[in-house]
Amino acid sequence: MNDPRITSYALGELEGPDREAFKRELAASDDLQKHLNETINLTKALGALPMPNEQLENRSALLEQCAKNQSRRRKTNILRLAVPISLAAAASLVVVALLNQAGTPAPAILAVSAPAEKSADEIVRSAPQNISLTQQEVKQPAADTRSAVVMEKAKIAKARQMGAARGAAARAATDFDGYIHYGSPIVAGSDVVVADSILTRSGEWNTEGYNAIRENAFLDVKQNPLSTFSIDVDTASYANVRRFLRNGTLPPAGAIRTEELLNYFPYNDPAPKDAAPFSVNLEVATAPWDAERLLVRIGLKGKEIPASERAPANLVFLVDVSGSMNEPNKLPLLKRSLRGLVENLSDRDRVAIVVYAGSSGLVLPPTPGTRKQDILAALDNLQSGGGTYGSAGIKLAYETARENFLKEGSNRVILCTDGDFNVGVTSQSELQKLIERERASGVFLSVLGFGTGNVKDSTMELLADKGNGNYAYIDTPNEGRKVLVEQMGGTLFTIAKDVKIQVEFNPAQVAAYRLIGYENRLLAKEDFNDDTKDAGEIGAGHTVSALYEIIPAGKKIPGALSVDPLKYQTPAPVVSGVPVSGDLLTVKLRFKQPDGDKSQLLEVALATPESIPFFDQASSDFRFAAAVAAFGMKLRASPDAGNITWDDMLRIARQSLGDDPGSYRAEFLTLIEAAKSLALEPKTDDDKSPTQP
């Protein structure tokens, strides 16, 4: 049978009407079916052939050279484009010189920092400081890149002989020593700066990807009475921070998302009483780091849905089984975590498993929860191997989910990977578009990250965000149980989607405010009422916390904020007789039902208490959340952390443990201890002996 369509079909290359026509022929011919089955078996065998495990000998030198070439290439372009505006360049040179003296790292590390989408000439406008580097750079003769690599090769061979075992361990320990993202003056001007390269001081590359985060600053209520953001129930940052600390390294600033630290912990907010999907709880007290300031906690608590009442789930696990997953903290941990989930499935749930690696395929067709043994057996049979790239993996997963779509249930693809989400769609933007398209069809995406060293943190968060899902990072069996068993409702069952929060501050009571965390989740004030704007989801039983730090009216706003009074604006006239509102603020929430398109509005006002409670009088949830926020700020070396010490945090957290189901809060104490000892250790650049976890 010489029909190339057989192979095309087996490889998922046949699409549209051709595919339908072929399916009809297939149904009519036993012969064709037999031929197809044989072909499919063969493609599986071919896909499972082990790939020779050959690598280059001079990998890090080559990557370093590539990075140099790339930045030289861009700088040359900038110089070419910059000539006509040399006057402007001369002016900015002075600025750069000052900045460099002010203690920014050596110029070699100052790679061009600009949002990746910008073209070269935009970079000139947005980052004039690069021109000075360019000029220094151009004076040096361009070395022959090839010979530089060859020289490096010799050096590396020598180093290898000296200490063969150093490799992986040393690399893990030296990750992230030389960060320049956060707080560096050259990045001022844009809200979120894409970290241009993760090149450490020692010149080693790490392929973990983090976007730099610029903390929210204090905003003057008169200029910005509204603060708008999307909720976020992700928790991955906490597990990731824990991994760094346990390995004896302080996490890079970009990996610390304070809202994810806050939302890692369960809080005791009361469940909603009425039909609303969640309750809104507000509390105010003085800030632990500055008694002159206030802290407001907004706590949302999603409705709990008992397992017997919750809608059935149609889950498709999309599992990365490429060779890199063959490590104890990856595939075996994944299997163990998913086993816990499967044991809690109800009879009405369905589970399918799609794998991707050298080839992709459906290893478990949709199977009802009554056949747990079959599902567990399929899980046990998962093995890593083959290439790192599977075609059509994610498409197949979505297709499987759609074919078994439960109208009244939760439909979700759960991507489990160590960061190589090369799921068959080549470019990132294409992948994002696919996920957004599928979201519209009602299939959501959750992402579970495993392993270390290659975690594309920012991308995974983004994908889950685009897919109306959550992103969790699983580094231990306990974490797997927390995400997939204890919080299964929240992880898998959305009770409200596109949840946005807008807080209106009363200028009569508040001079300035600062939202702690949620930097990646800020929305424009217009987005709040715009139902086409995507926002975060809240799952059954989830708690979401947000903290605002407030400078009360009449108190001085820190100097950097002062703006001259506007010349042409007339301040609102004070109408005598109308009493000034005693409210501190009003919280407005917009959300949609999981299958709805139109948002609903909730509004809760917080009156200014007659006397503001002292921090120590606040609820234990409030105090614990404040300790976590302080921990995040301190780890990021944020100036807003004030003079709070690690010991203060320990004390606050220890006194606010509460019942602590699951002992998560107790574990947090050990992280503060770890951060404290690492932060106090003098850091040296050259001494990088691998630290044992």
Partner: protein, 169 residues
């Protein structure tokens, strides 16, 4: 989203081994294959990465193929003996347990008997996961030619594979 350096590093992680394996299919020599892959990434680093990114995969394999063919042209030796080479030099990787060893050795041998272009297609598809369209770009041919050739390759393999009798060389 990703910076050019991140894209390069990511591409390197993902394609280093498949590219070496692919280049070795052409050169028949591991060192020459490594050189070709190194040259490929150096060339990549001089490109406008962000513009290249949507078709990065075919670009890498196309350039790597040319580098490997350059080597073959210079040395004047074609990889006729790649099957022997491969079996001799391939370390038994931990992944090998995925398939019974005998089966995998036999299948490998069957593949090594295919014509050069078909062998390349098998590598591109099953080791690197390229789509028909991407393979067509790499080999500068049409999608339908890729379809016909790959089907031809699988057809040949299938006939021997599903017949458990041993074929003698």
């Amino acid at each position: 989203m990703m910076s050019p350096e991140e894209i390069i590093a990511h591409a390197f992680d993902r394609f280093e081994r498949p590219l070496i394996s692919y280049a070795k299919e052409i050169t028949g020599d591991l060192e020459a294959a490594r050189d070709a892959v190194q040259e490929t990434f150096l060339r990549l680093s001089r490109q406008d990465i962000l513009r290249l990114e949507p078709r990065l995969t075919p670009w890498l394999f196309f350039v790597c193929r040319n580098c490997a063919l350059d080597h073959v042209r210079k040395v004047g030796r074609f990889a006729e003996d790649s099957a022997e080479n491969e079996r001799a030099s391939d370390d038994p990787s931990p992944d090998a347990s995925v398939m019974a060893d005998e089966d995998s050795v036999r299948l490998r041998e069957l593949v090594s008997r295919l014509p050069q272009q078909q062998r390349e297609l098998i590598k591109l598809k099953f080791e690197s996961g390229l789509s028909y369209k991407e393979m067509a770009e790499v080999l500068k041919t049409s999608v339908s030619t890729v379809g016909v050739q790959l089907h031809g390759a699988l057809q040949t393999l299938r006939q021997h594979w599903n017949r458990p009798t041993h074929i003698t060389s």
